[in-house]
Protein backbone atom coordinates (compact mmCIF):
# COMPACT_ATOMS: atom_id res chain seq x y z
CA UNK A 1 0.00 0.00 0.00
CA UNK A 2 1.06 3.54 -0.64
CA UNK A 3 0.21 6.87 0.85
CA UNK A 4 -0.41 9.43 -1.85
CA UNK A 5 0.11 12.99 -0.65
CA UNK A 6 -1.34 15.39 -3.17
CA UNK A 7 -1.13 19.13 -2.64
CA UNK A 8 -3.59 20.88 -4.92
CA UNK A 9 -5.56 24.11 -5.34
CA UNK A 10 -8.52 24.28 -2.96
CA UNK A 11 -10.85 25.29 -5.77
CA UNK A 12 -10.03 22.04 -7.57
CA UNK A 13 -10.96 19.81 -4.64
CA UNK A 14 -14.52 19.22 -5.79
CA UNK A 15 -13.44 18.27 -9.31
CA UNK A 16 -10.77 15.90 -8.06
CA UNK A 17 -13.08 14.33 -5.53
CA UNK A 18 -15.73 13.74 -8.15
CA UNK A 19 -13.29 12.23 -10.60
CA UNK A 20 -11.91 9.89 -7.96
CA UNK A 21 -15.41 8.81 -7.04
CA UNK A 22 -16.14 8.05 -10.65
CA UNK A 23 -13.10 5.80 -10.63
CA UNK A 24 -14.31 4.05 -7.50
CA UNK A 25 -11.81 5.65 -5.15
CA UNK A 26 -13.76 6.97 -2.19
CA UNK A 27 -11.58 7.04 0.92
CA UNK A 28 -9.44 10.07 1.54
CA UNK A 29 -8.30 12.47 4.20
CA UNK A 30 -8.15 16.19 3.46
CA UNK A 31 -5.93 18.70 5.23
CA UNK A 32 -5.99 22.48 4.85
CA UNK A 33 -2.44 23.67 4.35
CA UNK A 34 -0.56 26.64 3.01
CA UNK A 35 2.33 26.32 0.65
CA UNK A 36 4.69 27.70 -1.89
CA UNK A 37 6.44 26.10 -4.77
CA UNK A 38 9.58 26.97 -6.66
CA UNK A 39 8.14 30.35 -7.67
CA UNK A 40 8.42 31.54 -4.09
CA UNK A 41 4.73 32.34 -4.01
CA UNK A 42 2.92 34.83 -6.14
CA UNK A 43 4.43 38.18 -7.00
CA UNK A 44 2.08 41.00 -7.81
CA UNK A 45 2.78 44.51 -9.00
CA UNK A 46 0.69 46.92 -6.97
CA UNK A 47 1.00 50.64 -7.36
CA UNK A 48 4.42 50.08 -8.89
CA UNK A 49 5.85 47.93 -6.13
CA UNK A 50 6.26 44.17 -6.23
CA UNK A 51 4.46 42.31 -3.47
CA UNK A 52 5.08 38.67 -2.75
CA UNK A 53 2.36 36.62 -1.15
CA UNK A 54 4.35 33.61 -0.17
CA UNK A 55 2.12 31.06 1.51
CA UNK A 56 -0.97 30.38 -0.53
CA UNK A 57 -3.84 28.23 0.78
CA UNK A 58 -3.74 24.72 -0.62
CA UNK A 59 -5.43 21.46 0.11
CA UNK A 60 -3.49 18.30 0.87
CA UNK A 61 -5.12 14.99 0.01
CA UNK A 62 -3.89 11.93 1.84
CA UNK A 63 -5.03 8.80 0.09
CA UNK A 64 -3.89 5.31 0.93
CA UNK A 65 -4.36 2.90 -1.94
CA UNK A 66 -3.23 -0.51 -3.10
CA UNK A 67 0.00 -0.44 -5.04
CA UNK A 68 -1.87 -1.19 -8.24
CA UNK A 69 -4.04 1.87 -7.93
CA UNK A 70 -1.25 4.38 -7.48
CA UNK A 71 -0.84 5.22 -11.15
CA UNK A 72 -4.55 5.55 -11.67
CA UNK A 73 -4.97 7.91 -8.76
CA UNK A 74 -2.03 10.04 -9.78
CA UNK A 75 -3.42 10.30 -13.26
CA UNK A 76 -6.84 11.34 -12.08
CA UNK A 77 -5.46 13.95 -9.72
CA UNK A 78 -3.08 15.49 -12.22
CA UNK A 79 -5.74 15.68 -14.85
CA UNK A 80 -8.37 17.21 -12.66
CA UNK A 81 -6.28 19.55 -10.55
CA UNK A 82 -4.44 21.07 -13.46
CA UNK A 83 -4.90 24.65 -14.63
CA UNK A 84 -1.56 24.86 -16.39
CA UNK A 85 -0.45 27.82 -14.29
CA UNK A 86 2.20 27.78 -11.55
CA UNK A 87 0.77 26.62 -8.27
CA UNK A 88 -1.02 23.53 -9.51
CA UNK A 89 0.73 21.40 -6.93
CA UNK A 90 2.69 18.28 -6.34
CA UNK A 91 1.98 14.62 -5.66
CA UNK A 92 4.25 12.51 -3.47
CA UNK A 93 4.08 8.78 -2.98
CA UNK A 94 5.19 7.26 0.32
CA UNK A 95 5.48 3.62 1.33
CA UNK A 96 3.04 2.27 3.93
CA UNK A 97 4.09 -0.63 6.08
CA UNK A 98 0.82 -1.43 7.66
CA UNK A 99 -2.79 -0.30 7.63
CA UNK A 100 -5.26 -1.00 10.42
CA UNK A 101 -9.00 -0.45 10.46
CA UNK A 102 -9.98 0.98 13.83
CA UNK A 103 -13.53 -0.34 13.79
CA UNK A 104 -12.49 -3.96 13.42
CA UNK A 105 -8.83 -3.91 14.34
CA UNK A 106 -8.11 -5.84 11.19
CA UNK A 107 -4.81 -5.31 9.43
CA UNK A 108 -4.82 -4.70 5.72
CA UNK A 109 -1.94 -4.96 3.36
Amino acid sequence: MKLILAIIRPEKLDDVKRALEDAGIYPMTVVDVRGRGEQKGITIMYRGRPITIDLIPKVELQIVVKDDDVDKVIKIITENARTGKPGDGRIFVLPIERSVRVRTGEVET
Binding site: E11, I42, T43, Y46, I51, I53, I56
Partner: protein, 430 residues
Amino acid sequence: MTAPTLSPGDTAWLLTASTLVMLMTVPGLAFFYAGLVRRKNVISTMMYSFLAYAIVSIIWILYAFSLAFSPYGPLHVFIGDLKFAAISPFVGVKPSTLWIGTTVPAFIYCGFQLTFAAITVAIISSAIVERTKLSAWVLFCILWLTFVYCPVAHWLWSDGWPVSVLPKIGLRPALDFAGGMVVHMSSGFSALVLAYVIGRRLGYGREPMPPHNITYVLLGMALLWFGWFGFNAGSAVAANGLAASAWLVTNTATAAAAITWCLLSWIKEGKASSLAFASGAVAGLVAITPASGFVDPLSAIVIGVVASIISYHMVEFRIKRGLDESLDAWAVHGMSGFWGSIATGLFANPKINPGNVGLIYGLIYGKPLIGALQLASQIVTSLAVLGYVVCVTFIIAKIIDKVVGWRVPAEMEYVGLDMSVHGEEGYIMR
Protein backbone atom coordinates in the same frame (compact mmCIF):
# COMPACT_ATOMS: atom_id res chain seq x y z
CA MET B 1 -43.81 82.77 9.12
CA THR B 2 -42.96 82.02 12.71
CA ALA B 3 -39.93 79.94 13.43
CA PRO B 4 -40.81 76.34 14.16
CA THR B 5 -40.41 75.08 17.72
CA LEU B 6 -37.94 72.35 18.55
CA SER B 7 -39.54 69.26 20.10
CA PRO B 8 -37.15 67.45 22.46
CA GLY B 9 -39.10 64.21 22.00
CA ASP B 10 -38.93 64.30 18.22
CA THR B 11 -35.30 65.35 18.40
CA ALA B 12 -34.48 62.49 20.76
CA TRP B 13 -36.00 60.07 18.28
CA LEU B 14 -34.21 61.57 15.29
CA LEU B 15 -30.86 61.45 17.08
CA THR B 16 -31.53 57.81 17.88
CA ALA B 17 -32.85 56.93 14.45
CA SER B 18 -29.86 58.50 12.70
CA THR B 19 -27.55 56.51 14.94
CA LEU B 20 -29.45 53.33 14.15
CA VAL B 21 -29.26 53.89 10.42
CA MET B 22 -25.53 54.56 10.67
CA LEU B 23 -25.16 51.11 12.24
CA MET B 24 -26.85 49.53 9.24
CA THR B 25 -23.84 50.33 7.10
CA VAL B 26 -21.12 50.38 9.75
CA PRO B 27 -20.97 47.45 10.39
CA GLY B 28 -24.34 45.91 9.41
CA LEU B 29 -24.00 45.82 5.67
CA ALA B 30 -20.25 45.31 5.93
CA PHE B 31 -20.71 42.08 7.87
CA PHE B 32 -23.66 40.91 5.79
CA TYR B 33 -21.64 41.18 2.61
CA ALA B 34 -18.30 40.10 4.04
CA GLY B 35 -19.81 36.89 5.34
CA LEU B 36 -21.04 36.05 1.85
CA VAL B 37 -17.69 36.27 0.11
CA ARG B 38 -14.69 34.02 0.32
CA ARG B 39 -12.39 34.35 3.27
CA LYS B 40 -9.67 35.94 1.22
CA ASN B 41 -11.85 38.99 0.58
CA VAL B 42 -13.47 39.58 3.94
CA ILE B 43 -11.55 42.77 4.71
CA SER B 44 -11.89 44.09 1.20
CA THR B 45 -15.63 43.62 1.18
CA MET B 46 -16.02 45.40 4.50
CA MET B 47 -13.84 48.24 3.34
CA TYR B 48 -16.09 48.96 0.38
CA SER B 49 -18.91 49.69 2.82
CA PHE B 50 -16.79 51.57 5.33
CA LEU B 51 -15.21 53.75 2.68
CA ALA B 52 -18.58 54.43 1.09
CA TYR B 53 -19.87 55.60 4.46
CA ALA B 54 -16.85 57.80 5.14
CA ILE B 55 -16.72 59.35 1.68
CA VAL B 56 -20.44 60.09 1.61
CA SER B 57 -20.15 61.61 5.10
CA ILE B 58 -17.74 64.24 3.86
CA ILE B 59 -19.33 64.95 0.51
CA TRP B 60 -22.76 65.18 2.04
CA ILE B 61 -21.61 68.05 4.22
CA LEU B 62 -19.71 69.72 1.44
CA TYR B 63 -22.39 69.83 -1.22
CA ALA B 64 -24.55 66.74 -1.64
CA PHE B 65 -27.10 67.56 1.07
CA SER B 66 -27.68 70.87 -0.61
CA LEU B 67 -28.00 69.34 -4.06
CA ALA B 68 -30.51 66.82 -2.80
CA PHE B 69 -32.53 68.90 -0.36
CA SER B 70 -32.33 72.52 -1.36
CA PRO B 71 -35.74 73.45 -2.76
CA TYR B 72 -34.18 76.33 -4.65
CA GLY B 73 -32.35 76.68 -7.94
CA PRO B 74 -33.28 76.83 -11.59
CA LEU B 75 -33.55 73.07 -11.99
CA HIS B 76 -35.39 72.55 -8.73
CA VAL B 77 -37.86 70.17 -10.33
CA PHE B 78 -34.91 67.95 -11.06
CA ILE B 79 -32.23 68.81 -8.51
CA GLY B 80 -31.44 71.39 -5.82
CA ASP B 81 -28.72 74.02 -5.88
CA LEU B 82 -25.65 74.78 -3.76
CA LYS B 83 -27.30 77.26 -1.40
CA PHE B 84 -26.62 75.02 1.59
CA ALA B 85 -23.24 73.77 0.43
CA ALA B 86 -20.67 73.35 3.16
CA ILE B 87 -23.66 73.94 5.39
CA SER B 88 -21.88 76.93 6.85
CA PRO B 89 -24.32 79.67 5.90
CA PHE B 90 -27.15 77.81 7.47
CA VAL B 91 -26.69 77.28 11.15
CA GLY B 92 -28.35 74.01 11.84
CA VAL B 93 -28.90 74.07 15.57
CA LYS B 94 -32.48 75.26 15.01
CA PRO B 95 -35.36 73.57 13.17
CA SER B 96 -36.20 74.80 9.71
CA THR B 97 -39.40 74.82 7.73
CA LEU B 98 -37.43 73.97 4.61
CA TRP B 99 -37.50 70.32 5.46
CA ILE B 100 -40.05 67.85 6.57
CA GLY B 101 -38.49 67.66 10.04
CA THR B 102 -39.72 71.03 11.24
CA THR B 103 -39.53 70.12 14.90
CA VAL B 104 -35.96 68.86 14.92
CA PRO B 105 -32.70 70.79 14.48
CA ALA B 106 -31.68 71.05 10.84
CA PHE B 107 -28.33 69.49 11.69
CA ILE B 108 -29.88 66.20 12.62
CA TYR B 109 -32.20 66.23 9.65
CA CYS B 110 -29.07 66.60 7.55
CA GLY B 111 -27.36 63.84 9.53
CA PHE B 112 -30.35 61.51 9.25
CA GLN B 113 -30.42 61.94 5.48
CA LEU B 114 -26.65 61.45 5.38
CA THR B 115 -27.00 57.94 6.75
CA PHE B 116 -29.49 57.11 4.00
CA ALA B 117 -27.24 58.34 1.25
CA ALA B 118 -24.34 56.37 2.71
CA ILE B 119 -26.10 53.04 2.91
CA THR B 120 -27.49 53.45 -0.59
CA VAL B 121 -24.00 53.77 -2.01
CA ALA B 122 -22.71 50.93 0.16
CA ILE B 123 -25.39 48.53 -1.06
CA ILE B 124 -24.05 48.83 -4.59
CA SER B 125 -20.68 47.44 -3.47
CA SER B 126 -22.30 44.02 -3.27
CA ALA B 127 -22.05 43.79 -7.04
CA ILE B 128 -18.33 44.39 -7.30
CA VAL B 129 -16.83 42.32 -4.52
CA GLU B 130 -13.78 40.11 -4.87
CA ARG B 131 -12.50 41.66 -8.09
CA THR B 132 -12.55 45.45 -8.04
CA LYS B 133 -9.94 48.15 -7.60
CA LEU B 134 -10.32 50.36 -4.58
CA SER B 135 -9.62 53.49 -6.60
CA ALA B 136 -12.44 52.70 -9.01
CA TRP B 137 -14.81 52.22 -6.12
CA VAL B 138 -13.82 55.49 -4.45
CA LEU B 139 -14.39 57.34 -7.69
CA PHE B 140 -17.69 55.61 -8.22
CA CYS B 141 -18.92 56.60 -4.74
CA ILE B 142 -18.32 60.25 -5.48
CA LEU B 143 -19.81 60.29 -8.97
CA TRP B 144 -22.79 58.11 -8.20
CA LEU B 145 -23.74 60.07 -5.09
CA THR B 146 -23.61 63.29 -7.05
CA PHE B 147 -25.26 62.28 -10.29
CA VAL B 148 -27.65 59.56 -9.23
CA TYR B 149 -28.49 59.75 -5.55
CA CYS B 150 -28.83 63.51 -5.20
CA PRO B 151 -31.31 63.92 -8.07
CA VAL B 152 -33.40 60.90 -7.16
CA ALA B 153 -33.58 61.86 -3.49
CA HIS B 154 -34.51 65.37 -4.55
CA TRP B 155 -37.32 64.05 -6.74
CA LEU B 156 -39.09 62.18 -3.99
CA TRP B 157 -38.09 63.92 -0.81
CA SER B 158 -37.61 67.53 -1.70
CA ASP B 159 -39.27 69.43 -4.46
CA GLY B 160 -38.85 67.09 -7.44
CA TRP B 161 -41.30 66.45 -10.22
CA PRO B 162 -42.92 63.34 -8.71
CA VAL B 163 -44.22 65.45 -5.84
CA SER B 164 -44.47 68.87 -7.47
CA VAL B 165 -45.32 68.18 -11.12
CA LEU B 166 -47.37 64.99 -11.03
CA PRO B 167 -50.21 66.57 -9.01
CA LYS B 168 -50.37 69.37 -11.55
CA ILE B 169 -51.04 66.90 -14.36
CA GLY B 170 -53.83 65.22 -12.47
CA LEU B 171 -51.93 62.45 -10.77
CA ARG B 172 -51.18 62.10 -7.05
CA PRO B 173 -47.80 63.00 -5.58
CA ALA B 174 -45.64 59.88 -5.61
CA LEU B 175 -45.08 58.30 -2.22
CA ASP B 176 -41.81 56.89 -0.97
CA PHE B 177 -41.90 56.93 2.79
CA ALA B 178 -38.40 55.75 3.60
CA GLY B 179 -36.72 55.04 0.30
CA GLY B 180 -38.11 52.18 -1.74
CA MET B 181 -37.18 54.03 -4.90
CA VAL B 182 -34.57 56.46 -3.61
CA VAL B 183 -32.56 53.88 -1.72
CA HIS B 184 -33.40 50.38 -2.85
CA MET B 185 -34.41 50.57 -6.48
CA SER B 186 -31.60 52.96 -7.21
CA SER B 187 -28.93 50.85 -5.51
CA GLY B 188 -30.32 47.55 -6.70
CA PHE B 189 -30.52 48.46 -10.36
CA SER B 190 -27.17 50.20 -10.21
CA ALA B 191 -25.68 47.00 -8.84
CA LEU B 192 -27.06 45.15 -11.84
CA VAL B 193 -25.49 47.63 -14.22
CA LEU B 194 -22.13 47.46 -12.47
CA ALA B 195 -22.13 43.69 -12.47
CA TYR B 196 -22.75 43.77 -16.17
CA VAL B 197 -19.99 46.26 -16.87
CA ILE B 198 -17.40 44.70 -14.58
CA GLY B 199 -18.00 41.09 -15.46
CA ARG B 200 -17.77 37.88 -13.52
CA ARG B 201 -15.31 36.79 -10.92
CA LEU B 202 -12.59 34.45 -12.19
CA GLY B 203 -13.82 30.90 -11.96
CA TYR B 204 -17.43 31.99 -11.43
CA GLY B 205 -19.72 29.12 -12.27
CA ARG B 206 -16.84 26.64 -12.45
CA GLU B 207 -15.58 26.74 -8.90
CA PRO B 208 -17.58 26.69 -5.68
CA MET B 209 -17.71 30.09 -4.01
CA PRO B 210 -19.58 29.38 -0.80
CA PRO B 211 -20.07 32.13 1.80
CA HIS B 212 -17.16 31.87 4.17
CA ASN B 213 -18.91 32.99 7.33
CA ILE B 214 -22.65 32.62 7.56
CA THR B 215 -22.63 33.79 11.15
CA TYR B 216 -21.49 37.18 9.87
CA VAL B 217 -24.29 37.22 7.34
CA LEU B 218 -26.73 36.56 10.14
CA LEU B 219 -25.13 39.19 12.34
CA GLY B 220 -25.37 41.63 9.46
CA MET B 221 -28.98 40.73 8.82
CA ALA B 222 -29.82 41.26 12.49
CA LEU B 223 -28.11 44.65 12.60
CA LEU B 224 -29.91 45.66 9.42
CA TRP B 225 -33.26 44.67 10.90
CA PHE B 226 -32.39 46.51 14.11
CA GLY B 227 -31.24 49.64 12.35
CA TRP B 228 -34.13 49.57 9.92
CA PHE B 229 -36.47 50.58 12.73
CA GLY B 230 -34.56 53.85 12.70
CA PHE B 231 -34.72 53.92 8.92
CA ASN B 232 -38.46 53.49 8.60
CA ALA B 233 -39.84 54.76 11.89
CA GLY B 234 -37.31 57.58 11.77
CA SER B 235 -38.70 58.65 8.43
CA ALA B 236 -41.74 60.02 10.26
CA VAL B 237 -39.19 62.63 11.44
CA ALA B 238 -41.11 62.72 14.69
CA ALA B 239 -41.87 60.44 17.63
CA ASN B 240 -45.53 60.07 16.82
CA GLY B 241 -48.19 57.58 15.84
CA LEU B 242 -46.87 57.31 12.33
CA ALA B 243 -43.46 56.34 13.62
CA ALA B 244 -45.08 53.71 15.82
CA SER B 245 -47.04 52.38 12.89
CA ALA B 246 -43.94 52.28 10.72
CA TRP B 247 -42.13 50.38 13.47
CA LEU B 248 -44.77 47.71 13.66
CA VAL B 249 -45.33 47.18 9.95
CA THR B 250 -41.60 47.03 9.39
CA ASN B 251 -41.26 44.21 11.84
CA THR B 252 -44.31 42.44 10.47
CA ALA B 253 -43.35 42.52 6.82
CA THR B 254 -39.82 41.43 7.64
CA ALA B 255 -40.92 38.46 9.69
CA ALA B 256 -43.40 37.41 7.02
CA ALA B 257 -40.83 37.66 4.27
CA ALA B 258 -38.15 35.82 6.24
CA ILE B 259 -40.48 32.94 6.96
CA THR B 260 -41.64 32.85 3.34
CA TRP B 261 -38.19 32.64 1.76
CA CYS B 262 -37.11 30.11 4.36
CA LEU B 263 -40.16 27.99 3.53
CA LEU B 264 -39.44 28.29 -0.19
CA SER B 265 -35.95 26.93 0.38
CA TRP B 266 -37.32 24.20 2.60
CA ILE B 267 -39.90 23.10 0.07
CA LYS B 268 -37.95 23.60 -3.12
CA GLU B 269 -34.45 22.63 -2.01
CA GLY B 270 -35.22 20.38 0.91
CA LYS B 271 -33.32 22.55 3.38
CA ALA B 272 -34.42 25.44 5.56
CA SER B 273 -31.42 27.55 4.73
CA SER B 274 -30.48 30.32 7.11
CA LEU B 275 -29.32 32.37 4.16
CA ALA B 276 -32.83 32.04 2.81
CA PHE B 277 -34.15 33.44 6.06
CA ALA B 278 -31.67 36.31 5.89
CA SER B 279 -32.43 37.10 2.26
CA GLY B 280 -36.12 37.03 3.02
CA ALA B 281 -35.70 39.36 5.96
CA VAL B 282 -33.88 41.87 3.79
CA ALA B 283 -36.44 41.54 1.00
CA GLY B 284 -39.21 42.22 3.51
CA LEU B 285 -37.39 45.20 4.98
CA VAL B 286 -36.85 46.61 1.51
CA ALA B 287 -40.41 46.08 0.34
CA ILE B 288 -42.03 47.67 3.38
CA THR B 289 -39.70 50.66 3.25
CA PRO B 290 -41.65 52.85 0.82
CA ALA B 291 -44.95 51.70 2.31
CA SER B 292 -44.05 51.85 5.98
CA GLY B 293 -45.77 55.15 6.65
CA PHE B 294 -48.94 54.23 4.84
CA VAL B 295 -50.00 50.64 5.38
CA ASP B 296 -51.47 48.61 8.23
CA PRO B 297 -49.99 45.44 9.76
CA LEU B 298 -52.16 43.00 7.81
CA SER B 299 -51.14 44.54 4.51
CA ALA B 300 -47.56 44.36 5.72
CA ILE B 301 -47.84 40.59 5.88
CA VAL B 302 -48.95 40.48 2.24
CA ILE B 303 -46.21 42.87 1.19
CA GLY B 304 -43.59 40.75 2.93
CA VAL B 305 -44.79 37.42 1.56
CA VAL B 306 -44.95 38.68 -2.01
CA ALA B 307 -41.57 40.38 -1.71
CA SER B 308 -39.88 37.09 -0.89
CA ILE B 309 -41.64 35.26 -3.66
CA ILE B 310 -40.58 37.87 -6.21
CA SER B 311 -37.00 38.21 -5.05
CA TYR B 312 -36.56 34.46 -4.72
CA HIS B 313 -37.42 33.99 -8.36
CA MET B 314 -35.33 36.94 -9.42
CA VAL B 315 -32.30 35.33 -7.78
CA GLU B 316 -33.01 32.17 -9.70
CA PHE B 317 -33.41 34.14 -12.89
CA ARG B 318 -30.16 36.02 -12.29
CA ILE B 319 -28.25 32.81 -11.72
CA LYS B 320 -29.76 31.20 -14.79
CA ARG B 321 -28.62 34.16 -16.85
CA GLY B 322 -25.09 33.53 -15.63
CA LEU B 323 -24.75 37.05 -14.33
CA ASP B 324 -22.37 37.47 -11.41
CA GLU B 325 -24.37 40.14 -9.61
CA SER B 326 -22.51 38.66 -6.74
CA LEU B 327 -24.62 39.25 -3.64
CA ASP B 328 -28.00 39.80 -5.29
CA ALA B 329 -28.60 43.44 -4.50
CA TRP B 330 -30.62 43.70 -7.68
CA ALA B 331 -32.89 40.76 -6.97
CA VAL B 332 -33.41 41.73 -3.34
CA HIS B 333 -33.12 45.52 -3.15
CA GLY B 334 -33.98 46.39 -6.70
CA MET B 335 -36.94 44.14 -7.23
CA SER B 336 -38.40 44.19 -3.71
CA GLY B 337 -37.96 47.96 -3.74
CA PHE B 338 -39.90 48.05 -6.97
CA TRP B 339 -42.61 45.82 -5.54
CA GLY B 340 -42.85 47.89 -2.35
CA SER B 341 -43.20 51.09 -4.34
CA ILE B 342 -46.07 49.61 -6.32
CA ALA B 343 -47.56 48.05 -3.19
CA THR B 344 -47.71 51.48 -1.59
CA GLY B 345 -50.12 52.43 -4.33
CA LEU B 346 -52.17 49.35 -3.59
CA PHE B 347 -52.27 49.13 0.19
CA ALA B 348 -52.03 52.71 1.47
CA ASN B 349 -54.65 52.94 4.22
CA PRO B 350 -56.02 56.39 5.12
CA LYS B 351 -56.63 55.23 8.70
CA ILE B 352 -52.86 55.04 9.04
CA ASN B 353 -51.84 58.12 7.11
CA PRO B 354 -54.85 60.35 6.47
CA GLY B 355 -55.29 61.44 2.88
CA ASN B 356 -53.20 58.70 1.34
CA VAL B 357 -55.23 55.96 -0.26
CA GLY B 358 -54.05 53.06 -2.35
CA LEU B 359 -56.18 51.25 -4.90
CA ILE B 360 -57.38 48.52 -2.55
CA TYR B 361 -58.49 50.81 0.26
CA GLY B 362 -59.80 53.18 -2.38
CA LEU B 363 -62.13 50.42 -3.52
CA ILE B 364 -63.08 49.61 0.08
CA TYR B 365 -63.69 53.18 1.13
CA GLY B 366 -65.36 54.22 -2.08
CA LYS B 367 -62.53 56.29 -3.52
CA PRO B 368 -61.31 54.05 -6.31
CA LEU B 369 -60.17 56.90 -8.53
CA ILE B 370 -57.81 58.42 -6.01
CA GLY B 371 -56.44 54.97 -5.33
CA ALA B 372 -55.93 54.29 -9.02
CA LEU B 373 -54.21 57.62 -9.52
CA GLN B 374 -51.91 56.91 -6.61
CA LEU B 375 -51.01 53.57 -8.14
CA ALA B 376 -50.36 55.25 -11.45
CA SER B 377 -48.05 57.77 -9.81
CA GLN B 378 -46.17 54.99 -8.14
CA ILE B 379 -45.69 53.12 -11.39
CA VAL B 380 -44.69 56.16 -13.40
CA THR B 381 -42.19 57.34 -10.83
CA SER B 382 -40.72 53.89 -10.25
CA LEU B 383 -40.13 53.42 -13.94
CA ALA B 384 -38.62 56.87 -14.26
CA VAL B 385 -36.28 56.18 -11.37
CA LEU B 386 -35.38 52.84 -12.89
CA GLY B 387 -34.65 54.32 -16.27
CA TYR B 388 -32.67 57.25 -14.95
CA VAL B 389 -30.61 55.16 -12.60
CA VAL B 390 -29.74 52.53 -15.16
CA CYS B 391 -28.65 55.03 -17.77
CA VAL B 392 -26.59 57.31 -15.57
CA THR B 393 -24.97 54.45 -13.68
CA PHE B 394 -24.04 52.84 -16.97
CA ILE B 395 -22.34 56.01 -18.14
CA ILE B 396 -20.49 56.44 -14.85
CA ALA B 397 -19.41 52.82 -14.88
CA LYS B 398 -18.09 53.05 -18.42
CA ILE B 399 -16.20 56.25 -17.74
CA ILE B 400 -14.52 54.71 -14.73
CA ASP B 401 -13.69 51.66 -16.78
CA LYS B 402 -11.91 53.85 -19.29
CA VAL B 403 -10.18 56.12 -16.80
CA VAL B 404 -8.94 53.79 -14.08
CA GLY B 405 -10.32 50.37 -14.99
CA TRP B 406 -12.50 48.32 -12.68
CA ARG B 407 -10.68 45.03 -12.36
CA VAL B 408 -7.58 44.12 -10.44
CA PRO B 409 -5.06 41.87 -12.23
CA ALA B 410 -5.89 38.18 -12.22
CA GLU B 411 -3.17 37.24 -9.71
CA MET B 412 -4.49 39.76 -7.23
CA GLU B 413 -7.96 38.37 -7.63
CA TYR B 414 -6.63 34.84 -7.15
CA VAL B 415 -4.70 35.65 -4.01
CA GLY B 416 -7.58 37.70 -2.67
CA LEU B 417 -7.93 41.42 -2.22
CA ASP B 418 -7.26 41.32 1.51
CA MET B 419 -3.64 40.38 1.00
CA SER B 420 -3.05 42.08 -2.30
CA VAL B 421 -4.85 45.40 -1.80
CA HIS B 422 -5.00 45.83 1.95
CA GLY B 423 -1.96 43.80 2.95
CA GLU B 424 -4.00 42.16 5.66
CA GLU B 425 -5.39 38.79 6.56
CA GLY B 426 -8.89 38.77 8.05
CA TYR B 427 -8.37 36.03 10.58
CA ILE B 428 -5.22 34.35 11.80
CA MET B 429 -6.78 31.50 13.66
CA ARG B 430 -3.69 29.33 13.98
